[in-house]
Symmetry: C2
Subunit: 450 residues, 2 copies
């Protein structure tokens, strides 16, 4: 890397962090439609300040506009960034050490909702672009940027957004959100996302809560929902929806090799979360294989009856469960939704309704793609250590339309570290890794223009 | 009944209702420690106005005093009334047609929190006592009254209260709270209560909520609690805790006969609640047998993870369930608590903790007790129809210490009807049944003195 770029990044780091704090102070909770538009406008303004031709672009829901931006460089070779400017709800609030929308620095860490996911990466990329441009007078390549405001609610309308704006965002390669280092500080190049099916199951009985002395005769929807859920997965953790595993593409040899090459960080991972034992007592290779390659059926929420202080003897009128299924290639969320409905019906739970709240297809870029080598090479130089190649993130994003409509290879290059408390209270970034993420982005831009 | 007593009740009915409204306007929510003491003082004042020697009596918790009152009559034969002056929390508030603590008359009904449970019965009994005393110059028997302010939170300390004050409240017979008419308007004499074990189960995994992409390796406490609960009861509705049914005293022939003699009100019951089908499709005799004779394992609440609007992909750190078990003779709540612990351990759920929030022993008075005939005979005369004998209420109350420490037969004699929305929004009484309840109480006092 040119020393001038490093110097620029370092001398502007305070300014960069200030911009990130400003962005974090603006709540943008898509699940609650809170501040999303305001945050989108702020991002457009920041893009324009950095020299981009940028603007909000309507999606199917006007409350969640996309953003498309372009900054022409010396060559037509083009890099697409994907990010989102919405964040997860901050609750439970009482577990935050400092308020989620008042970004706070402590001991080299910066805390706040969205600071890691996904406002930190936006600020880091802006800083990298400015450093390269200011230093070289002009970007060596053209950078396009596509952002959305509804990623945390499953990117509704993003598929159509990509279809409708394909000409404006199509680029040679794409850097996704996320990315960063492993527990040992070595960079990770991640090449895909899991798919998602997010459903809410609901069971009703009486029209209002009633006295629990009626329990011998009035069906309890909480019990029914528990029994229904129990048919989906039991203590063996095997998902019992017929067909659930049928379409899964077996692991490729290069995926297996890449996973084997990753360090065993299961102890750090579990210790950080305060978890005693992994599911299935998995450790080592099997721990990593599960995280990266296994689909899941997770209960994200269950609510029924009285959950406050003390005893209330009530028979609930309604019970609801939120479930997210993380899917791996080549599972299809719509097919799984249908299989779930049929499974519940077959097991006598046709009274349990299903609302599908969001879904995504899984997506992966081939480990053999030349772009992967470029991202890895630039990372090796900046981090001064050998990058890990990770076949897929454990999380989800709308990468499928980008890979399949635009036909673009996608990899990550970011600022994260595994202790970032993503989606949880005290979400944070480490400022040293933030700096390295900025430098890696700048290095990659330079390399792509070489 | 003497016409003079009926006339007194009728000519003072407006005044009686005014007293009831005053009592209802005073919130006394034991679960929230709201207005309980103030309400207790108001009840003492009303008892003194009616000629009682009455006062607050401390219980283990000074926030929930008991009340003991006595009004000597012509003979030493004595009748004990049990009531409570605390009420359930009024929520959900938005389902009330008029505010819960502003008692409102509409079309012969009176609405308000506590109007049926248990302030209406207090006002009715006071009115009956005044009518008998004013008419006859003196009560024919001695009346003692024992009230508590913590019934709605499981009567903590009531057992000790009865033990410590046994000499002051011991009487020949006892009239409990509750009682009144069935859907057809015929009076019901109820002879017991179910017992209760109320527990909160809790399961924890990570120290905070985490990203649901960790689901392949981080145990989900919501799943674990669902699997644990599924071992307690499955779709057959049979409670699977070993020993749960072992001690249950089989139904006596006179209980079976009494239940058979009750009318089939299952359709009215279910229609009123908006329930399509009873548990096990029970109707007729089986419906009534279940309600009165069956113990239950009811989920009063289940909370885990995100239960708000929309999708949040979180892996919950904690899951909690509140369960109430209604118990029948001779089940022992402490033994069942221990069996529950052992059952969970045996099934691999020693990570699920149990907190016991409250418990009561079941209690029943024998149908053969001469007191039952006196309550029924007086009811027959007032209601001009054959009373139903109901072996037990479906609900719970602290009747066990009264029956077993004082050795007193207990029956009900009240003002309720089945549409009273007890514990729910729009709790109400019917004024015609209220009047009949007053007359029945007066008639019983007269009969006991004959």
């Amino acid at each position: 890397m040119q020393q001038a770029i490093t110097d620029h990044v370092d001398s502007h780091l305070d300014e960069t962090i200030e911009g990130l704090k400003r962005l974090t102070r603006q709540p943008s909770i898509s699940a609650q439609r809170l501040g999303v538009l305001e945050c989108g406008e702020m991002v457009v303004e920041m893009l324009r300040d950095a020299g981009f031709d940028a603007g909000l672009v309507p999606t199917a829901d006007p409350g969640y506009p996309g953003i498309i931006a372009e900054l022409k460089g010396k060559s037509d070779r083009s890099l697409l960034f994907y990010n989102h400017y919405d964040v997860q709800p901050p609750d439970p609030l009482d577990e935050w050490e400092t308020p989620p929308f008042e970004p706070t620095e402590r001991d080299g860490y910066l805390y706040g909702r969205g600071i890691s996911d996904d406002k930190g990466p936006i600020a880091a990329r802006l800083a990298a672009i400015k450093a390269v441009r200011d230093t070289m007078g002009e970007l060596p390549i053209t950078i396009r940027w596509c952002l959305e405001g509804a990623e945390e609610i499953g990117s509704p309308g993003f598929h159509e957004f990509v279809e409708q704006n394909a000409e404006r965002i199509k680029s040679d390669v794409c850097i996704w959100e996320g990315g960063g280092v492993n527990w040992d500080g070595r960079p990770m190049v991640m090449l895909g996302v899991k798919g998602l099916l997010y459903v809410e199951l609901e069971c009703r009985s009486a029209k209002t809560d009633s006295h629990s002395s009626y329990a011998p005769v009035v069906p309890n929807p909480a019990w029914r929902l528990i029994w229904a859920l129990n048919t989906l997965k039991d203590e063996s953790e095997r998902i019992a929806i017929p067909g659930f595993y049928d379409r899964i593409r077996p692991a490729l040899e290069n995926e297996t090799k890449a996973i084997a090459a990753l360090p065993d960080t299961s102890r750090e991972f579990l210790h950080d979360l305060g978890v005693e034992m992994a599911v299935g007592e998995a450790s080592g290779y099997e721990f990593r294989r599960r995280l990266i390659m296994e689909p899941t059926a997770n209960i994200a929420g269950f609510g029924a009856g009285y959950t406050g202080q003390g005893a209330k003897t009530i028979l609930p009128a309604v019970a609801r469960a939120k479930l997210d299924f993380r899917l791996v290639p080549n599972q299809d969320p719509q097919e799984i939704l249908q299989n779930l409905r049929e499974h519940l019906d077959r097991n006598g739970f046709s009274d349990v309704t299903i609302s599908s709240l969001t879904s995504e297809h899984p997506a992966r870029t081939s480990i053999e793609d030349p772009f992967v080598r470029q991202v890895a090479d630039s990372a090796r130089r900046v981090y001064e250590s050998e990058p890990y190649i990770v076949p897929s993130m454990t999380g989800t994003g709308p990468q499928h339309p980008v890979q399949h409509i635009l036909g673009v290879p996608v990899a990550s290059c970011g600022i994260d570290y595994p202790g970032n408390r993503i989606h949880a209270p005290n979400e944070n970034i480490r400022l040293d890794y933030f700096r390295l993420g900025v430098l890696h982005t700048a290095e990659l831009i330079t390399e792509l223009g070489a």
